[in-house]
Structures are given as C-alpha cells and as structure tokens.
C-alpha cells in the first residue's frame, strides 16, 4: 500500500485517485505551513532551519520508505506520528505554546478518523495532547509558565479528550452498524442461496413438463396411443409435483414471516398418518406403507392438518429413497425421555448418509443441500420447520447397518395443560390474528393432495 502522502504516492500511476488527492493536500499544507512560519518569523528564527530540516526529512521518508510492503493502517499510523512530530517541532522552534500552530494537531486527528478507525483517532488525540503538553513542559524549563500557557495547553488537552470521547461513541456506533451489516449480508446470502437451490428444484419437474410436451407436439404422428398416455401421465405428475413445491415454498415463507398459524388440539398420530397415507395419489405407494402404534400411546398436541402434510412429505421421501417395492413401516409410540409422542419411519434401502435427508439437519431455511436431486428438499425443509414450530423435534437415526429411520416427536396432549390453541410461525404470538386469518384462507382451499413421487 502506498503512503497517502509522498511524491511517489502522488505521482505513482497505480495510486488510487483518492490517495493522490490526499498526498497533494498534505504537500500543500506542508508548503503553506513552512511559508507562514517563514513569514511570521522573518528574519528567520534560529530554530526555523531545524523545522525545514525536519520537513525535508519528512518528505524523503514519505517518498522512499517501502510503503508498498506495509498495510494501509500501519503506513498511515507512521505518517500520522510523523505529522504530529513535525507539528511539535514547529511549535517548539517557533513561539512555543503561544503559537497558533497547535491548531494543526487537529489535522492528523481528523485524518485518522476518516482514513483509519475511530479507535486510532482516539490514540491520535492522546498523542497530540501529550506532544503539546511536552512542548509546554520543555518551554517551562527555559521560561516561566504563564497562566495563559497553562490554560491553552489544558484547553487543548480537554478538547482532544472530548474529541476522543466523541470518537469512542462513534466507534461503538460503527461497530454496531458493521454487525448489523454483517448479519444483513449473511441473511441476504442465505436467502440468495436458498432461492438458487429452489430454482434448481423447480427445474426438475419443469424439464419433464417442457420436454414431454414438446415431444408430443413435434412427434404426435410417430407416437402410439400408449406412449402418448405415458407422456401425459408424466406431465400430470410432474405438474402436480411442481404445484406442491410451490405450496411448500409458500408455507416456508409463511412460517418465516410468522403468518402460518397452527391450530393445535388433541390428535391421534395414527389417524394423522392414515390420512396422510390417503394423500399419496399412487395406490401402489399407499400399499407399501404399514402403520403400527404402541398400546397406550398418548394423543399428540398438534395441528392435525399440518401433521398429515408432514407425514405425507416424509412418506414420499421414504418411498423415493427405499428399494423398489420395499415396505415403509411407520411406528408410533411415546418418546422415551420426554413428554412427547414420536413417529418413526423406516424403509429398507433408505441410507442415513444420503444427501436427500440433509434438510432434516441444520437450520431450516439453509439446509437444502447442493447435492439434492429429487425435488424432496423443499418438502423436508417445510416438515422440519413445521415440527419445530410445534415445539417438537425431527431427526434421522442411523442403524448399525447404516440404514436410516426418519423420526419426529411432538408434545403429547397430557404435557400441555391448555386446551385448543392457535400458535403462529416464526414464534411470534403478536401476529396471531394475522396468522389465524392466513390459516383461514388456507383452510378454505382444503387439504392439499400430495402425489406419489415417480422418481428417486
């Protein structure tokens, strides 16, 4: 990094325009100060040669020191220390503490606050005040210190102190602002990543819809009736899949914005699974699902409609990930260590290390793995968000053979003393009214059917 002052910086072709302006200004100030000092002390005072010598050394240092090897802060701090040294020498060799040149100390202070950070500006304030007081002390050894001098030095020290305190406040504000900016950028990045992954998810069913429609359009004469029917079935299934993904995304947005209201009441998880099973459109897929509940399983305290949707999404993931035709077994029972009811979905061939289950780990909005391929990511992400909104937990158990069991638990009804209740997404009860209205709208549309996956 080049120095902000010095002829190299000023003339260097690679120096940024801002650096060139800063270097030119500092040269101008230096020349002005020297001229003023020379005019004021004409005929030249004995110390003026010392000041000129110091100034020349200053210019040489700024020109020939290897600034490019230093970082910007380090280089600027050296420059500022040299500034303060020059001003102190000027004061000492001119009329000392009675001189008005002490006002020049404000320049490096302002420079530090603009170019570096407010903490460095505080340090520059302290160094300036100390240097000015040193001039006073050195002067005091030669002549008697007058009350005016004491007042002047103290006034400057006080103003530098106040300026320093002001910069401390600014530094805190700046840090808070930086933190906010960092958080905002993080959130924007997460949202952007999420949208990018969602757009990829949307392209999977779109590929089939666009492609098979085009084949039907271009080759109608070559395709027999069976093949045309096959294509139409694929297009229908993929269009339903796409519609469901859009619903999932809207649900996720509703949860995130606190607009999704849960209507919790006492429900039977077994009944919810049976209803969720019926939402699978493929009868063959429904046949593969078996449900068993342990005796004396307590009722869950949950929103039945949402639990049905979660169950269906999890069943779809299990059906898609298991071996062809394998049984998907659902077991329901009380959770071992807490007042919750849990559901476990197991299927032969479903692997715990499969990326498809990634949305069940990690933060809800952020968990759609780059490697996901089946269009299940959104559904699993919503499932996770919904279960967490219920105060429950969703996870994947890995068996000794690496096979996965998808599990979730929700509070049991006995654990909750309250009766039916409406709670709202994003954990904000203040927006309960708006959420309930949003839920009413959702209820109007009825249950959303979920089609069976046709692809792995």
């Amino acid at each position: 990094m080049r120095s902000s002052f010095g002829f190299r910086a000023m003339l260097g072709s690679q120096a940024a325009p801002r650096e060139k302006v800063a270097a030119a200004l500092r040269c101008l100030i230096l020349v002005t100060v020297f001229t003023m000092a020379w005019l004021q002390s004409a005929p030249r005072s004995p110390g003026f040669d010392l000041v000129v010598g110091f100034g020349a050394a200053y210019v040489l240092i700024t020109t020939f020191l290897p600034w490019s090897r230093m970082d910007r802060r380090q280089a600027t701090l050296i420059m500022l220390s040299a500034d303060i040294g020059l001003i102190t020498a000027l004061l000492y060799t001119q009329t000392g503490t009675t001189s008005e040149y002490y006002l020049l100390y404000y320049l490096p202070i302002l420079h530090a606050s603009v170019r570096l950070n407010f903490r460095d500006a505080v340090a520059t304030c302290a160094l300036s005040a100390a240097s000015y007081m040193l001039v006073g002390l050195l002067e005091g050894t030669e002549t008697e210190i007058t009350t005016t001098v004491i007042w002047r030095v103290l006034t400057f020290a006080l103003s530098a102190g106040l300026l320093g305190a002001f910069f401390v406040v600014l530094a805190r504000e700046h840090d808070a602002h930086e933190q906010l900016k960092h958080n905002y950028q993080g959130a924007m990045q997460a949202k952007s990543d999420f949208l990018s992954r969602v757009s990829h998810e949307f392209r999977t069913p779109l590929t089939a819809i666009v492609g098979f429609t085009q084949l039907l359009y271009e080759h109608e004469d070559k395709l027999d009736a069976d093949r045309q029917h096959d294509y139409l079935v694929i297009i229908r299934d993929q269009a339903q899949h796409l519609a469901r993904m859009i619903e999932d995304m809207l649900d996720l947005v509703r949860i995130d914005e606190g607009r999704l209201a849960l209507r919790r009441d006492s429900i039977s998880l077994q009944e919810a699974v049976e209803s969720g099973k019926l939402l699978l459109e493929d009868p063959a897929a429904r046949e593969r699902v078996t449900v068993a509940a342990e005796p004396r399983t307590p009722a869950a305290y949950a929103d039945r409609n949402e639990i049905e949707q979660v169950t269906t999404r999890l069943l779809l993931a299990a059906l898609a990930q298991s071996e062809d035709g394998a049984e998907v077994s659902v077991r329901i029972g009380p959770a071992a260590d807490e007042e919750q009811v849990q559901m476990m979905i197991q299927a032969s061939g479903m692997r715990a290390d499969d990326d498809i289950l990634a949305p069940l780990f990690g933060p809800a909005m952020n968990s759609t793995s780059q490697k996901l391929s089946s269009g299940q990511a959104l559904g699993l992400t919503v499932s996770r968000a919904l279960i967490e909104l219920h105060g429950g937990r969703i996870w994947v158990d890995e068996g000794s053979d690496g096979e996965a069991t998808i599990c979730f638990s929700v509070p049991d009804f006995r654990a909750e003393e309250s009766g039916p209740e409406v709670i709202v997404g994003a954990l904000s009860r203040e927006t309960a009214k708006a959420g309930a209205e949003a839920n009413d709208e959702a209820d109007d549309s009825g249950r959303r059917p979920i089609g069976a996956e046709t692809h792995a």
Binding site: H200, R203, K371
Partner: protein, 130 residues
C-alpha cells in the same frame, strides 16, 4: 452403432433423454444408470462412446464421475455431455474443468439435446473439441 449412456437419478429425465434421441431419427445403443457409482462400473464394462451425465445425484455427483471417466486411461476417450438443472456459470465452469465436452441446461428442447449430442459425436470424429 454409437453406444450412449444416460446417467440420471430421475427416471422421467432418463426417459425424456432416451425418447428425445430416439425420436430424433439418430440411432444409438442406449444404456442407463441411476447412480454415479453404478455408472462408473457400467462404463468400464459397456465402454460407451458418449455419456449424458446429470450433476446432482446421490452418492457421487456428476462432476466427480466426469473427472473419474476422463482420468481413467481406459475410459478417457468417452465423450461427456453434462445435462443439469444447475445452469449457473460456476457449474458450467466446473463441468468443463472436469473434462466435459458440452453442457446442456435443463429444461431443454428435445431436438436441441439430439442436435448437441450429434455435434459432440461428429466433433470427436473430426478430432476437435465441441
């Protein structure tokens, strides 16, 4: 006849590619694989001339599969066309760095896929990279 292998975990995408090529009038002997690891095993046996490869697949993604095919001297002559819904520049660059000969973004027009595959095969026959 040109041997062509389709590697994609989505059955509807595999069928779309197979039928797009079949209906285009070009003749291929087509093989299919739904997972990267299985594809690598099948490629070493079948020795296809060209592979249509998806990026996002369970177990091993398409990019490592592409790298492995091009790294192995026995299969390095196989032409690879990446067919993926990941169509941003990073993925295209990664695909080409891994040795892919072409990149087709999903969703695609069936006729366009057939034309691109034909072009890659013809370019290979002429000894130039598509």
């Amino acid at each position: 006849m040109t041997k062509l292998m389709i590697v994609d975990d989505d059955p509807s995408a595999r069928r779309l590619m197979r039928d797009s090529l079949g209906l285009s009038g070009d003749e291929y002997e087509i093989f299919e694989a739904d997972r990267g690891r299985f594809a690598l095993q099948l490629i070493s046996v079948v020795r296809p001339d060209i592979v249509l490869l998806d990026i996002s697949m369970p177990e091993i993604g398409g990019i490592p599969v592409c790298t492995e095919i091009k790294r192995n001297p026995a299969t390095s002559g196989t032409q690879i066309v990446i067919v993926s819904a990941h169509s941003d520049r990073d993925f295209i660059a990664a695909s080409l760095s891994a040795g892919a000969d072409d990149f087709v973004a999903k969703p695609f027009q069936p006729a366009d896929l057939a034309r691109r595959v034909r072009l890659v095969i013809e370019s290979n026959a002429l000894g130039v990279k598509a």
